[in-house]
Amino acid sequence: MSVAETKTEKVEGWNRPHELEPEEGNDLLEVAMGPHHPSTHGVFRMDVALDGERIVRLKPVFGYLHRNHEKLGEGQTYLASMPYTDRLDYFCSLTNNWAYALAVEKLAGLQVPERAEYLRVILAELTRVQNHASSVGFLIQDMGASGTPLMYAFKEREKILDLFEELTGSRMMCNYMRFGGCRVDASPAWLDGVQKVVAGLPAFADEYEALLRTNEILMARTQGVGVLPPELAVNAGATGPLLRASGVNYDIRKVDHYGIYDRFNFRVPLGDHWDVYDRFMVRLLELRESIKILEQALKDIPQGPIMDPKSKIRGFRPKAGEAYGRIEAPKGELGFYLISDGGPNPYRYRVRPPSFVNLTILEDMCLGQNVADVVLILGSVDIVLGEVDR
């Protein structure tokens, strides 16, 4: 396909630096970055048109990892889709579980007991800590610092994954939350283990910041690169750290107060330069806020049941209707939209994945930048292809 054919229409009112032209007398070079480029975090292709080193056009191409998740969900029971949600964003299976459970609970009118809500918050925030730590590590690795920062993050992640395995039986494919509560109760020994890991997290955050924050090379590579203005981010529907780094105060934990998030005291970090460095900093600061939430949740967690007695494991049929459950996943707004016709399977099952929507404005961030910066900008969006393609 020639470049001329891929030209997209200019949208009125969109302040996008679109349709760059090559300099007089220059020819364009088309490069297919991916689908097996190491920087794409999976199988994902960017069709890039270059004028020398400058990006003139960029077209994200995804779908290589399509697994028919939504249609599969319509063909089987509500419960059977739960393990498949683990495989959307395989870094954060517990938040995926929560979003799906939330949607089904809305549909079936189930009440989650206190203790289960606390367990969910603890697990979701642990997930956020490990996701942000490793996504920063991956970003730095894309920049060329191969290994060290990523391994520091993985050292901490390993402790958290061990906790997940101890409670849920699996490190990454946790399949832990159920409609109306959680699958197994946490033992006091497990909670002590969490306490121990959480007590070590501030030291890790300090170490990680000292390692990276003031590094001159990192600052030179990231500051002023991949600027995403707030109006553009809002227009494209971006969510999560990407949106907040563009200075928009929108965190679903604060907006929706789903679960019991209104009980915790935490702040929402915002960026004001809208660049890659801001996204990096927003993640580091969010990590610290998550530690705060964890400390509060561990202090307050009550005893009690972990399942709504009305919930059924066999023969679960929610009444006809529709529901949308959304949470603030580490990558942004993760939503599940379900329509029930009263049968054992959902009539319609739709996932609103954060990385997919965030990826759609990749071109606007990359235009005019150098080709080496594309790798960096993609890293700062923080995508997982399992979720983009579903």
């Binding site: 089987q76 029971t77 419960l79 059977a80 889709s81 739960m82 393990p83 498949y84 683990d86 060290t148 520091y152 390993e158 061990d162 395995e165 101890e166 409670l167 849920t168 039986g169 699996s170 494919m173 399949n175 699958r183 197994v184 170490e207 000292a210 390692l211 990276l212 924050r213 003031t214 590094n215 001159e216 090379i217 990192l218 600052m219 494991i313 066999r314």
Partner: protein
């Protein structure tokens, strides 16, 4: 000063490098086949069928109700119900699986089969070395390979197995009490003059 940030970062790595010689906690690598990390009790890898007693065929708890076959998300379970019946753990006549196969290469270790089973018959194993050089037959485990004793279950998941045993014992006691009460009622009715023959309770 230019380069201060880099030096700060290098100080961090130097601290970690030196620390790795002192602190045992940092040496996490394990020489795998010879050395192994301590297994975690909750680990789930692949399902197995629990049997009571010494004979696996007679002691299988599974009654071939096929709920797990229907609920399994990747549909990796294949069950054929038997024609005849055999007594279960309370002595009641039940069907049993004439065939019960699980495909290792399809199973995704989600534990849904364990959760939906009403008879505590299928549980998760912690054995993870399932690799074989046989691509088809070796990866399809039949009921003989899947059957494992209740003692084995106690060994790998002690807490969970104790709870399950307590639950089963309670159910059994309840059923026995019910059967006894029904038998007594039947006896009382039979003793009474002109009583109709009463059906025995289960």
């Amino acid at each position: 000063m230019l380069g201060e940030g880099i030096l700060k970062g290098l100080a961090e790595t130097a601290k970690n490098f030196a620390g790795s010689y002192v602190s045992k906690e940092r040496l996490t690598t394990v020489q795998y086949p010879e050395e192994r990390v301590k297994p975690i009790e909750a680990t789930r890898v692949f399902p197995f069928l629990v049997f009571d007693g010494a004979d696996w065929e007679a002691g299988l708890r599974c009654v071939a109700c096929q709920i797990c076959e229907k609920e399994c998300p990747p549909k990796c379970i294949y069950i054929e119900k038997s024609q005849d019946k055999k007594p279960d753990y309370v002595g009641k006549q039940q069907f049993y699986p004439a065939r019960f196969d699980i495909d290792v290469s399809v199973c995704m270790s989600c534990q849904i089969c364990v959760e939906v089973c009403p008879f505590e018959a299928i549980k998760m194993d912690t054995e993870f070395e399932l690799a074989t050089d046989d691509r088809f037959g070796g990866l399809l485990q039949d009921r003989g390979q899947l059957a494992k004793s209740n003692e084995y279950y106690h060994r790998i998941h002690p807490t969970e197995a104790t709870e399950v045993d307590a639950r089963l014992a309670e159910e059994k006691a309840k059923l026995e009490a019910k059967a006894k009460a029904a038998a007594e009622a039947a006896a009382a009715k039979a003793a009474a003059p002109a009583a109709k023959p009463a059906g025995g309770g289960e």
